[in-house]
């Protein structure tokens, strides 16, 4: 075991990481997307009940370390920034494992005038620059389930998922009536590991209940789906993007619904992000945005198995 003062990653890996970061910055410079820098310490936090924001006490007031720069970057977009990107640290409490670290590096960018399809092309160009070319594929969330788990995630209810879990002897907890928790479970166990094997696999048209900040439309089967995508490489989730919701009233409703779920679960309740809602009211340009787990992409580019191999000081050494 290395002494605790030493970095977890080898110095050579960290030098290569720096080189990859320089290439990412060149990628955006060539496309006229400029780099911004927004606060990591902020008065509000994301409402998403599945993300645990880290609180920081300051002069008797509670602030939050940001779990993503999304809100601040959208305020810049509304103020007329045009297309922008950011490479920053983000914080998510309780997330630690082979592919997770509480503090991690996000690459987030927004392309004005893009929809999620155009942005997917750009995301895969960036991945191919660092990892090399591979066949590219896109499929809907429903298709991904049908192909790799043999079930339709829109047709099954919570009981249906529970019955499959028992039938397949999955030894999983009872998730009750929480349909999205069931979908997440099956997606994580049965679908995601099969995606992106030797290729770049995009999944889009997520259920509307998992839309977060994406726009909605009805798919061919008449189900309400989100204009949201994820990129998978070698079974690992790398990026999550949206054709961004610009309607402030719809956004306020979604924040309220998320806050309600937090209240039911007894989780901390940060104030609604009124500055973001005001920015949306002032007018967010039509755009698509994506958050990419840069540590994971670097891990794959350097042939590593764990995030710790490409991080100087992971959580236990921080």
């Amino acid at each position: 075991m290395e002494p605790a003062w030493r970095p977890a990653a080898r110095i050579e890996q960290l030098r290569q990481r720096a080189e990859l970061l320089a290439r990412v910055r060149r990628f955006f410079a060539e496309r006229g997307v400029w780099e911004v820098d927004t606060p990591q310490l902020s008065a509000t936090a994301i409402a998403d009940p599945n993300i645990e924001s880290v609180a920081a006490e300051l002069a008797g007031r509670r602030y939050w370390l940001q779990s993503s720069p999304e809100a601040a970057m959208k305020r810049l977009l509304a103020a007329g920034s045009g297309s922008i990107y950011q490479i920053c640290h983000a914080f998510r409490g309780g997330e630690r494992g082979r592919l997770h670290n509480v503090e991690f590096t996000l690459l987030e960018w927004y392309q004005v005038g893009f929809d999620h399809h155009a942005l997917m092309d750009e995301v895969v160009d960036l991945a191919a620059m660092l990892l090399g070319e591979r066949p590219r594929e896109r499929m809907s969330y429903r298709e991904a389930f049908l192909r790799h788990a043999g079930i339709d995630p829109f047709a099954l209810d919570a009981e249906g998922f529970a019955a499959r879990a028992a039938e397949w002897d999955m030894a999983v907890p009872d998730l009750g009536a929480d349909i999205d928790a069931w979908r997440d479970l099956f997606f994580s166990y049965r679908v995601a590991p099969a995606l992106g094997r030797g290729r770049y696999s995009f999944v889009d048209e997520f259920p509307a209940s998992q839309a977060a900040l994406a726009r909605l439309h009805r798919d061919e089967q008449g189900d309400l789906v989100a204009e949201r995508f994820e990129l998978f490489i070698d079974g690992i989730e790398i990026a999550n993007g949206y054709h961004e919701l610009t309607d402030p009233d719809e956004q306020r409703q979604r924040f309220r619904a998320e806050a309600e779920r937090r209240e039911i679960r007894g989780e901390p309740l940060p104030d609604l992000d009124e500055r973001l809602l005001a920015a949306l009211a002032a007018g967010l340009p039509d755009c698509a945005g994506v958050a990419l787990g840069l540590d994971r992409l670097i891990m794959l580019a350097l042939g590593a198995e764990r995030l710790d191999e490409v991080m100087a000081f992971p959580f236990e050494r921080a």
Binding site: I51, G94, R96, L99, P173, A181
Partner: protein
């Protein structure tokens, strides 16, 4: 009743599931960026040794299993139970043949073993890593014979059979590694 939250999970942690004690062998944190987090664990049943997989919702709690490891001296067997004594408190405890298992091949009275206790009942008995045992039977080695990998079987006083070098004779005291079941050296009495 002590409990552990999933974020305290790590290998070696002893938990209670379906009334049985388990040790966590492997803990994997699984979370879609925008969804529910899970802990997928491999656990070993401390009664049967069987390893199974189980998933928990992150943040859930699990009852802790009252499992401890203690060093105890082997005293005797009455044919049914095997009795061990805590050298500090002189308290005695009986272990079943199933719990003693393979340790029987290696231990003699007075040997200090490691017992895994669950609610003060022995689950397993580990013999010392090295034991000294007398050879009770082995054929005479033939001088100059280097065939057969240069070894021969020898029966020890506990009944265990180990491969030994050709020069070992009956009545000699040998040091044996109980983890591999291999001969280490001769011991001077």
């Amino acid at each position: 009743m002590a409990t552990y939250s999933t974020n305290e999970f790590k290998s070696g942690l002893k938990i209670l599931m379906d009334g049985d004690p388990y040790a966590i062998v492997e803990n994997e944190f699984v979370k879609p960026g925008k969804g529910q987090a899970f802990n997928r664990v491999k656990v070993r049943n401390l009664k049967t040794g069987r390893v199974i997989e189980r998933t928990f919702k992150s943040g859930d709690t699990v009852e802790a299993a009252d499992v401890v490891e203690v060093e105890m001296q082997y005293l005797y067997s009455d044919g049914d139970q095997y009795y061990f004594m805590d050298p500090n408190s002189f308290e005695q405890i009986g272990a079943s043949e199933a719990a003693v298992g393979d340790a029987l091949k290696w231990i003699k009275e007075q040997d200090v073993c490691t017992l895994t206790l669950w609610n003060n009942e022995p689950l397993t008995v580990e013999p010392p890593n090295f034991v000294n045992l007398k050879v009770t039977q082995t054929d005479p080695g033939v001088r100059g014979d280097t065939s057969g990998g240069g070894g021969k079987p020898a029966t020890l006083e506990t009944g265990a059979v180990v491969r030994v070098p050709l020069f070992i004779e009956e009545g000699e005291l040998l040091k044996v590694d109980t983890r591999s079941g291999e001969y280490v050296s001769r011991v001077k009495e």
